[in-house]
Symmetry: C2
Subunit: 408 residues, 2 copies
């Protein structure tokens, strides 16, 4: 068996959202098998299921996160892979549903945000040799004590790409409910258009900046292990968007996409307790709980240093808990601004085109949109703005950077 | 730590049927812990959940049973034990939800009807030593290849009693939605009354004859390993019914209960193909698929041997499949009578009281109820009758054997 003939195919929640859809996925996969493909299927939970499980847990304790929570939310994938396997068996194809403990998807034990350390491939390789279709539970792993962990929402993408990398497969197909990646979210930016190819780097920025298309770790792993990711629709057969090494794209636009993230919260502290120890302690403790701080700015006020940073709405409770600890008995003004959004433009072409930042701020200024926090990298510019201006900002930026459909 | 201070407590589907009930179970268990008990919790899936999962699978293929099906239906317990653990943690008690693969509940690989071979106790003993509450998924095991298996509907009882036996615990508490075991199902027999004690043997017969109170394997294991089973209500604190060795019961009534089972099908074959090979083949093939034949009668007809036997409605599809195989191309009349019920009287006191069978048939005759099949053992008499006469038969037998409340 040539290992590089394997294609890992991942199906998201809407793709397996009903019995009819699960059967349609099986039918489609069987066509691929009949066309000579060696396939490995990875599936998410049926759409709505993970939310249902999260809600059950939160009814008991919305603050609890840990081993039991991960076991709870991981059960959704167990259901969908079992159903997929039954759908294959019904059609005369042998299939085996596989949980993380059976496959050996080893992660750290940072529950709800676990990272994959290693995937064993023997089980899958043996099944493929015996013409059994491996149907793998996405989203889950096991820590060194064989406890179930989960990779964070959207983590099934990461399971799929990591599995492709471990198997030495050149491509990984991510089946979803949109036919392509768009230059912006079409619900927010009506003139958004489809993209044929994006570089890993661009997709990584998009994922980290609020695009829900791919789990960011999956793109990182794809880039690192050179697994090309093909994002395509479960409901159409045409090609979708390829995420590939930058060198494979002939000409990069200056800006390839505009992203937005309405789940942003800005926290301001004034004054920051003196010394660098405080900041180190704060950031260490946040990191230990898996909270990643996004944009940070520090400035001088009459009382000392002033600190502002943004986190996701989801991480706000944990962030506040950590702040309560580190600020304990200190006189620090703490302001939480929770109606914030982050708007960003991304493009590897920026590297060779100066002046993108100038145009970016010009547009926001023209629209009368105040900027609260800013950050830039070589290939992106992000600003935190009021969330009620997010739509205006996204459309104006999309237009100014020549992304509107009809323009080229 | 004295191991015999451990009490295994099992909670059925209605006991964990909602978030409120799960929290109530945690509260009640904490009181037991505060009273000095070392507890191990076993839980079923939330009520309705297993049915929901079965229905999902059946929508794809009602005939498929196997590895994927067991993985599917086992997911319900994963949810309930995770939620229970979160409820304990919220109250400041450390708890660890445990799946079969983590605990080492080893079974054969007869999917959907697996039998426990062995339970490892190290994991639980270590947790108890560290004052962590083990919360064990009922109903599931793993085969020698670490695939999930299930023990049959009601199998969580068996998980609990087997665990108690493995841990050397003298008692196992089965929490359910009724306060005691009754002499008959009160919905069918309004004069049914509560029982304080039953022998293992009586309970085994009851379980095998349609009583849903306990999974039969759990009683077998209790009897074999001398684990007394205490069936009691989750919603009341008073004592329930104890299932104990026969010697512990001072005076046994002739009949201790009347049971009924409306899920009975009678199959008649005429003539049976000549030779003993046919019957051996038929029963072997049924056993291999986990179908147990209940009552069997053979008689002479003008064409040869006539065979009648009963199976559960649930096993009818598999039974027909096997019959299609073994009767292939043979001219045999096959009649399926599917509106049948089995009615039984049980009591260890029967051993010392002749004439019970006579009274049994007298009552049915007086009621004008035809008997299709009969079987007896030392401590029970069963008859298959038309299901529309089940209620009349149950009430008449209950009365004639002095079980009606008010009588003694």
């Amino acid at each position: 068996m040539k290992l590089n003939s394997i294609i890992v195919k991942k199906f998201g929640g809407t793709s397996v959202g009903s019995i009819e859809r699960i059967e349609a996925v099986a039918e489609r996969m069987i066509k691929d098998i009949q066309a000579g493909q060696k396939i490995v299927v990875v599936a998410s939970a049926m759409s709505g299921e993970t939310n249902r499980l999260v809600a059950l847990g939160n009814q008991i304790d919305p603050n609890y996160r840990g081993l039991a929570y991960d076991m709870l939310v991981a059960s959704g994938e167990q259901v969908s892979i079992a159903l997929l396997a039954i759908a294959f068996e019904k059609r005369g194809y042998r299939a085996k549903p596989l949980l993380a403990y059976q496959l050996g998807i080893e992660t750290d034990n940072l529950y709800s945000k676990a990272r994959i350390h290693k995937i064993k491939t023997e089980v899958i390789e043996n099944l493929l040799r015996e013409n059994v279709i491996p149907v793998v539970a996405g989203f889950q792993g096991v820590d060194e004590n064989m406890n179930i962990t989960t990779l964070g929402r959207g983590g099934s993408d990461t399971t799929a790409v990591a599995l492709a990398a471990a198997l030495g497969a050149p491509d990984c197909e991510i089946y979803t409910d949109v036919p392509k990646v768009f230059t912006a979210d079409p619900r927010l930016v009506p003139k958004a258009k489809e993209v044929d190819k994006l570089s890993f780097e661009e997709m990584m920025e998009m994922a980290s900046l609020g695009s829900k298309v791919l789990h960011i770790r999956s793109v990182e792993i794809g880039a690192k292990h050179n697994v090309r990711i093909h994002v395509r629709s479960t409901f159409e057969t045409r090609e979708g968007t390829w995420i590939v090494p930058e060198g494979e794209i002939m000409e990069n636009p200056v800006v390839s996409s505009v992203t937005h993230d309405p789940n942003t919260v800005v926290i301001k502290l004034n004054p920051v307790p003196a010394g660098t120890d405080f900041l180190a302690e704060l950031f260490e403790k946040l990191a230990a709980r898996g909270v990643s701080i996004d944009i940070i700015t520090q400035s001088q006020s009459e009382h000392g240093q002033r600190l502002a940073f943004s986190v996701t709405v989801e991480d706000l409770p944990l962030t506040n808990k950590v702040l309560d600890e580190v600020l304990f008995s200190q006189k620090v003004e703490r302001i939480t601004m929770d109606k914030m959004a982050k708007i960003s433009v991304i493009g590897v072409g920026m590297r060779n085109h100066p002046g993108v930042a100038a145009r970016f701020f010009q547009v926001l200024a023209q629209q009368g949109i105040p900027v609260h926090l800013v950050t830039t990298s070589e290939i992106k510019i992000s600003a935190v703005i009021d969330s009620d201006r997010m739509k205006d900002a996204a459309n104006a930026l999309h237009s100014v950077f020549d992304l509107d459909s009809g323009s080229n």
